[in-house]
Symmetry: D2
């Protein structure tokens, strides 16, 4: 599936004159508020969020899954899809692999996948290991199971298998050119009394230490917390406090990863971000949105103002720029076309970033120093209410991408083409 | 305190040329999406939300209260403040009284207050009764207490006093020109087993019936639900389902009032609004925002997208216009200057209304008919991301109010003037 | 798999002398509080909760599933397992089928299954239809999908298929001797704007009406609400208020079913139960427990006091007895042996029932009439803190079941026997 | 008000024969499960929880307060009430003062109060400072206000006043014989953008450091987290992770205090307890119960099973005994008689402790090592379902207290006596 960039350009041409008029006005409005509109565009253009390999297929719940047509049949096709996505957004320049769902194999397999991705301009972001499912193909010993946990399990065999799996994922990542490992564990309890909180924590900490011994010096490792699901009484790495203890206890290059859906009701997530940044342990992000739990909905589709505040804290941590971190979109595309959902997610991220950049942080700091919350709110909302779509479109245009990615995606007929090529019944691996 | 309209006009002049340029572009952008920008302005200009009499004073929590300067010393001064608010926003044309905090007395007192308000162009919205505090001044019998509830109390005296108080509030409202009574009850339980759920419900239903007998034919009566606080195990009117049963069981002109902070975590409030509108029982709104519970924060300051969706449901119910209902702002101004908080709340409401009006509902319905959630999201976000501030400012301008109400409020020096007149230590009645 | 009742009796003999001493003391303690201990035993012995056919297999989450050994390979074996369960508890006398997971087919198939169950003393409780998954085997037309809903879908074909499926389930139920249909719908939205709240509601109401037309006169039909999952922005039947509107709008024999895990955080479920009972629409119960969402954990394992209060409301509704309703256990047995989990669930239910029966309701009513919450709490906790295990064991013994069901289950070696017979890799249908 | 111990003894005599029979059976049941019943009694008898000085008055909410009769008029009378409480429970041997609500003054005042308490057998537990209200009497400079925070305030004067107030409270505590300072701060934000998360944290950390410099070497200092209220967008010390960072950043003798009502919905509090104990920073407890937020309801009245699990974690941390920590009851007695509420709270704590001690921890550890959650649940529930009331009563009896404290409190007529002495309209200071 070759991406026809001339078609994208054609679509842009249709929209160009409106874009230029809208852009001129947006620059005016933003400059007037004391913010450099050009700098906003540049920073938005610089930003990129990885797409996970599993996200180009249809997602599901325990109650069912309704696949669409043309799902990628292997990891190569997944990279193809992400390259198409990036052609439209200019802001998804890497893929994040999940092993064993996407395992090209060491050596020739990894080399071929890396070559394929490089040809399409796609790099490899953080590697994701999976010890929440039994994967017979990668486990010699069928008596080992993660049913009662992986690193937290009282069973030595399960713990060893989990460490070994992570070691393999690191090795694969090295061959692919990745620079980080994300460890999300499903370990926990469904039943009070099932295990010792402290025992589980200590076993996980020890296991992370063993894994960390395999992490190359120029890599980072991320611990990702989640309060519940699939463990429904407690999770071992349940909140940012625990995640921080695990990271601090494991090593200097271990940081915490924040998934926007992994929080108890009413959590002030932007404060969590600020805390982790403050102690120098903010390592990565999984972007999505949610109303109830880990709903994995489209980024910015439920609480866009919260997203704006979170991005604001990131800019705070980065001194006005998005700090270096492993940014990834992590949604479950149950109803929307997966690529369309990723397009909307990336757009929402860029919009939130532009809005946050449009906040005059000098004015905000002044209001804060004066204990003047009404003025602070005016400054904040001035950024949020700005129509930044022209700035975002311009950032995309400069990256050679689409002014309007979703409309362009539909216009170029990508889904129909891949459905023809891959079939209507192909099903991508993943959740 | 006379409002100097020429000062407001002066401030508008400073901003006029920018406003005109911004407005022209906004009209362009909105018209281009198939929505009539002029109609948006007209509908925003038509909208008004009452200010409650208790909201012009500083609010507090059980942990303390920090009054500011120049708080109104009586109901007349409260009306003065609301008239100033309305002069700036053009969208707070009524006051909602809370008795006995604001009780002018029947006869001459009520007549004088009504005259004062009319001179300032302020009308009287829904009356609010208070049976959640003991009010010795209005109760002859000191042995009667609402400690264990008012209408739900097993004690006959308490129930009778509560009905009687509501009757008085209605009578007062008739003299003031109000047309509705809002009944919010604190009744419930702090302790499992303290009372019978069913017994409490039936006593409340009976009490509402007695009150309704006093409600004039051209009035409406509203039942307002709240899940908890001050009752911390259960409230009698705890959710919209109960509120609906009470309204249906009491009479045709009894409707349900929705306070945005009176919901359990993660409640889909816009769906609640749709349900009540569907059964013809949506009667009123208390606007505020919250992150945790009944936080009574500035409208639109925490979840502006949810507010936009809620207003969208109201437009759905009203066939593209805000349906007739008792709209009120209900915040607790603990930190911000009360009038500034009300200005920001009203502005946020107008912004949300304008955004919701900017959604092309024909396009949305098309996407819905096609089971196309990605397109539906595009249509929805096109409205939400529009910079509607110029449209809102224009609506205010046409109402003779301020282009930028907060800046204008500060420029005209109202707070300093009332502090000089009323003193720095005046404390308004209320929570 | 024949159940050897003499082995159960043997196990009981081992425990008998302790049981008799404990029972004598429990009767003493309970009688002393003014409650008739014998009546408690009789009512506990009378109570039964259905086991769902899908619950005898291992459950899972979207993140994985870890089957154990000896899972039933077909519906006949599922009934075998439930008969074993009932032999131990004496309180699971019916099975609740889920179609198409368990579809014996009309005619000979249904007759054979019914005969098999009757031989084992098992009856058929409410039938469950499934329109939340596409089931190609039962749908002729592959173009029909429930991806965007079943009864709520804008697509006529999907709605027709859903009605038709329910009609089939009713027909099957009639042949099996069932007397009720439970309709749980996954219909809702994942994305704001995806559909009209009102449109979805009205289509569901219409669809329920069509289904109800097929419901025999001596049957009941249940609407089951759930706030979210698998729909993550909104569900059509999202709360008890909506469920009640649907039931009232459909017909007299339509009632609401309460699943203990289908509530927003902090919901007062016992109050929901009281409300539905009050309006005569409480039809059924799905028992389980949860800490976060629809966790489907062991009944009484997280919030046993809440369970006790809920059962108390049922007794209130039933005039001191459990009212007639479709009681079912609905758990997901992800970690525990499914039969062991069901044993513990049934035991927890019996314990809660006995505790609630041990509350002296006359004393409680006295305290309520006196506005004396401290005394009410004493009365309530006197029931809850009573060690009712001997009363429950006695109720089981009188039903010919086990004094200690879990220990007995392990002692008789049922799991090992069925694993030998069915194999270690058998996987039951279900979630 | 002298406590007549002979009256308590008299009441015990009435209940003695039943007690002895119940106790004998309870010892039997517990011993049979492999737990030493005598050791349970001894540990329950050893346990004590402080009563806060403000808790002997009626509590309230922002919506009102309904005082009862005979409230203590000063700190001396508060100590009298707590002595009475302790006479009944034998488990409230200390009082925890809140300054300035209860400020005897340095020197003679403190000495007199200490003498009075010692005569009644009451000691002084952790001191509580108050910087969430402006207290003109203790602040020379009226221009200083905590409206925008105390230690977190950008205003130097407010920060200095807060440090100074804490220094004073420590000094007072030294004179009274206390050994710890609890710092709960209301600092936070009501409005996004109002302050810098990081700036607020760093100012609080610096302020705690200044306070800690005044803390004597044999004292401890506690940081108490709370997610919200009175700050409704964010609190500075919002969760255990932040509390831990503050404690670790301040000094070795700074530990974290856990209030059971200070958690987001669905928080696994027992896990929080385990984490803090694991890192050696669990310093204190405020016991209460809640359904929604910081409801401050009677201990064990809503989630007694959770309380049992929390106490189980404490025993885990203490090697089978309650570890040394500052245990306090922290309720708001809005409806019940304050002393009756404290009696029920203490009883509920003792019951939970006895149940947790009745869990055979060797059996539990065995089940955990075997990944056998069903067996673990059996062991856990065996403890929880035991009727431990006779063991608790025996522990009280050995401490010279009442077998049935609430009934005894009513029988001896304490409330009537103090109402006669203090008047029906006395109002204790506090919330």
């Amino acid at each position: 599936m070759t991406i026809d960039r001339s078609r994208i350009e054609e679509e842009n041409q249709i929209r160009l004159s409106w874009h230029e008029s809208d852009l001129a006005h947006a620059v005016d409005v933003v400059d007037r508020s004391g913010v450099d509109a050009e700098a906003v565009i540049v920073e938005v253009a610089r930003f990129s969020a990885a797409a996970p390999s599993w996200a180009v297929g249809t997602g599901g719940t325990r109650f069912g899954r309704f696949p669409g047509g043309g799902e990628p049949r292997d990891t190569f096709e997944k990279v193809d899809d992400i390259a198409m996505l990036n052609a439209l957004t200019g802001a998804n320049r890497t893929v994040s692999l999940h092993v064993p769902w996407d395992d090209p194999g060491l050596g020739a397999g990894a080399a071929a996948l890396r070559r394929h991705a490089e040809e399409l301009g796609i790099g490899f972001d953080a590697m994701n290991s999976n010890t929440f499912q039994d994967n017979p193909s990668t486990t010699d010993d069928r008596t080992v199971s993660y049913k009662f946990g992986s690193l937290a399990n009282v069973d030595d065999g399960a713990r060893r298998a989990a460490v070994e799996h992570n070691r393999y994922v690191i090795e694969l990542g090295v061959e692919l050119g990745s620079r980080a490992l994300t460890v999300w564990l499903a370990d926990g309890m469904n039943h009070p009394g099932q295990a010792s909180f402290r025992g589980q924590f200590e076993r996980v900490l020890a296991g992370l230490g063993e894994i960390y011994a395999h992490v190359p010096d120029d890599w980072e490792m991320y611990t990702e917390h989640k309060p519940y699901e699939p463990a429904f009484y407690s999770s071992v790495n349940n909140d940012w406090g625990t995640s921080l203890l695990l990271a601090q206890g494991t090593g200097d290059r271990v940081k915490c990863l924040v998934d926007l859906g992994h929080h108890l009701p009413n959590t002030n997530i932007e404060q969590v971000v600020s805390r982790l940044a403050m102690v120098g342990r903010l390592g990565g992000f999984h972007f999505n949105d949610s109303k109830y739990g880990d709903d994995d909905l489209t980024v910015g589709s439920i609480t866009p103002f919260q997203l704006f505040l979170i991005v604001g804290e990131l800019l705070e941590a980065g001194g006005g720029q998005m700090p270096a971190a492993a940014y990834m979109i992590d949604e479950s595309h149950n109803l929307k076309d997966p690529l369309e959902d990723l397009i909307q997610a990336t757009d929402a991220l860029q919009v939130a970033l532009a809005q946050a950049l449009c906040v005059n942080r000098t004015d905000l700091a002044d209001a804060q120093r004066a204990n003047d919350p009404a003025r602070a709110a005016e400054v904040l909302h001035r950024g949020f209410r700005t129509d930044v779509r022209p700035l975002v479109a311009e950032a995309r245009r400069r990256n050679g991408a689409a002014l309007e990615p979703l409309a362009t995606f539909r216009a170029v007929g990508y889904r129909a083409a891949v459905t023809a090529a891959r079939g209507a019944d192909s099903v991508a691996t993943g959740l």
